[in-house]
Symmetry: C2
Subunit: 456 residues, 2 copies
């Protein structure tokens, strides 16, 4: 049996996301990230391509490690400026009927009470098409905007655990299913006996009351996670329903997904309770040769500095400190070793200079890039999915909306012909796409479902 | 010269807002507050009626003073459940071209850094049609959801002052006008020399960086305020560009607006730098007699308990503690005196029992209610505006969308015929409606404009 390949679109309400310099390409409309029309078009395109969801990344501070300043990130518009992704959703929801929306929000900088309501509101307005990409925030530049000291990595996760508990109590426990009676005769809009203050008093949070929003179609949004550290992966195995991973290369892929599914089992859930999606970029043209030409053309717009700004952001390592054209020498310093570990996994056959890394990352970041005809790209996607025991992809882009349109217009029909992408949505809520028709609520094995009636 | 009457629509993303029990009326669609279609229709209606803005109230905790519990508020859906108003805006913006959106957000519970970005994002997406109703939050039930102790009234305003300073720095100072160069040749998306960290270190907030969003059409959203206390009114006179007031009765109206405009002058601004809008509800039918019949019909659905829940919320006084059918006796306790002061101003000619107050407030709250034919309502609005030196109204409703549709379909054309409501919008941004075409940015006398280059 071949698995359905779930399609998600990885995006950000910013001009530069994973690829850098590509905003300069004549076909790029990346600078239109602040226009509603741009996103309405994109949402309709993705729904036409039967995507499960558009997945919106977010940060709350700029990247300032490369060269010790924010200059490279700003100069390339690399995730800065970046607008608030939540504010785009209701408009996109109003021109679509099935497309889901997975939104990044931080369990480090948000407060659970208003965030629970924000998601509930969007779940109402979208009729159950919302997901939450739970992140803990690591950027010192963000901490400085909140007047806080960055927390140690494991403390962040401890706070995130309590954060999740509060959210589940608000979403799953504080309102009974039938609390809103809307009884015009008896004059009962809400039956007060069916609404329960959560009385949460923990190490990090005190939240006394009940959710401001009545229960929404999914109650809890679909929980996405992308934690890559061992603590992060444990958190993901407990809470995640969808996981976004960088599988680096197709040989490593199954090692990573096996490890994740084993941890999911260890957390008392079923191996396939978590759907795993790999991030990738596809550069597509009518033939393989033309696609290679297009890829070469994209490379002319590469901004290695922008890419190194992004790399500095997520790794904390300033590639600007090294000679740009000398291969990084293994083991010289811890920082170099860390960089090399990553890039050797990406492609063990080559030597990497900082300039190489910057150029390579300018198209698709550290994630895989598929280059070819629709058939070739479809072949490659099938191979990655099947070899890696993956459930789908999170499609990034180099040049937007060109690459996304090309994928929807040519690769999707090819994958549909092969029976790997559905021709019609099955179900109406985002959780149904992930967990099957009829399953709009958290699975009984999920920790959120266990909170549901624990104190109710 | 007759002044233009500015129209705003006072609403809330909740089933019950100012009027209680009205959700039971057969024409009411108030329970559809969680459906996008309901709001898209409403937005289009308001734009057809040439409203400046829809004004969305908000609270972050339920009303729990009346009867010592949340039961009455829940039973009547009285501002609970209440969704997040921000999440509704982009959808409404996508089906309108001119209607503005004024959103309530708390300078007590929000953090300035993400809130600045949220407003900037919406100002981009709406192309400059966003306003901010600045509130300081007083509800103990909200504090308990944030694990904080309610602050003393004046401390709240001191924090709000610093909050505003941070917001102005982020909006007005941190990005130069020409910072986004979008220079494809030179590869400069943003010129880093034109972006300035604000380095704010104050008593309540430490915010180091610059706004995550690039400058939006209005930069700062239009600042609305509704502070009624003397400290609140001083804050409003400093920061407000639009003020929502309860003028209680038409005789008192000019006393209140004169006081406000004098304080605006004292703050170094011009008397008419602030536009003052009175909240009112209109019950309209073809003739005065029919309107009276409709009003009587509405009264059959009144929920005095819901109204007293609302009253308890904003006053802190539990009307449930008194005999419901005995006139409140002046001076007996401080609490009674406070209630009487308010209701005597509302109508000095009558004696008030708690039951009277609950019934009266069920339609339109403590604000004026106009009942009559379109001509009568238009006459009354003109009289209130001219006698009170007001700039417009903030139209509430008893039964939604019926009352709003009736106003747009019958009263607006009447006021247009009289030259009091514009037939076409003049300008494109919300600030232009308030300050005149061409004035999309804060007036030079506004404290936010003074922050703009203070440290830049």
């Amino acid at each position: 049996m071949t698995k359905r390949i779930g399609l998600n679109a990885f995006n950000m309400t910013a001009a530069g996301h994973q690829s850098s310099g590509m905003w300069r390409h004549p076909l790029s409309e990346a600078h239109r990230y602040k226009e509603l029309d741009y996103w309405l078009e994109l949402a309709k395109t993705l729904e036409r391509g039967r995507f499960d969801a558009v997945f919106l990344a977010d940060v709350l501070g700029p990247y300032d490690v490369y060269g010790g300043s924010v200059d490279a990130a700003l100069r390339d518009g690399m995730q800065i400026p970046a607008n608030d992704p939540f504010q785009y959703v209701s408009a996109m929801a109003s021109v679509t009927e099935r497309l889901g929306f997975a939104l990044t929000a931080s369990a480090t900088f948000e407060h659970p009470y208003p965030l629970a309501r924000r998601f509930s509101t969007l779940d109402h307005l979208t009729k159950g098409r919302v997901g939450w990409n739970v992140v803990t925030s690591y950027l010192p530049s963000a901490s400085r905007n909140f007047g806080t000291t960055p927390m140690a990595h494991d403390d962040r996760y401890e706070m995130a655990e309590e954060f999740m508990t509060v959210m589940y109590k608000l979403w799953e426990q504080s309102w009974d299913d039938e609390a809103v009676e809307l009884d015009r005769e008896r004059g009962v809009f809400v039956n007060p006996a069916k609404v329960h203050p959560i009385r949460h008093h923990g190490r990090f949070f005190d939240v006394d009351g009940f959710n401001m929003s009545e229960p929404s179609p999914q109650r809890s949004p679909v929980i996405f996670q992308a934690g890559a550290s061992s603590r992060g992966r444990r958190f993901a195995a407990e809470h995640g329903e969808g996981l976004f991973v960088n599988v680096l290369n197709s040989k490593l892929s199954r090692v990573i997904t096996d490890d994740i599914r084993t941890q999911v089992e260890a957390a008392g859930r079923k191996r396939d309770d978590v759907k795993i999606f790999t991030i990738l970029t596809a550069v597509i043209a009518d033939s393989d040769a033309e696609a290679e030409r297009l890829y070469a053309e994209y490379q002319e717009y590469a901004s290695p500095q922008g890419a190194m700004a992004l790399f500095g952001g997520f790794s904390g390592i300033d590639l600007g400190q090294f000679d740009q054209d000398s291969p990084l020498a293994a083991g010289e310093t811890n920082a170099i070793q860390t960089v090399l570990d990553l890039f050797t996994k990406l492609d063990p056959s080559r030597q990497w200079t900082p300039a190489d890394i910057g150029n390579h990352m300018s198209i698709g970041g550290v994630e895989p890039v598929l280059v070819g005809s629709p058939e070739t790209v479809a072949d490659e996607i099938e191979r990655w999915i099947d070899e890696g025991d993956l459930d789908g992809i999170n499609l990034s882009y180099a040049v937007t909306p060109h690459d996304i349109n090309a994928f929807v217009d040519t690769v999707v029909p090819e994958l549909q012909k092969r029976g790997r992408v559905w021709k019609e949505y099955e179900g109406k809520t985002l959780r149904e796409y992930i967990s099957g028709p009829g399953n709009s609520r958290l699975s009984p094995t999920h920790p959120g479902a266990q909170v549901a009636r624990a104190e109710g």
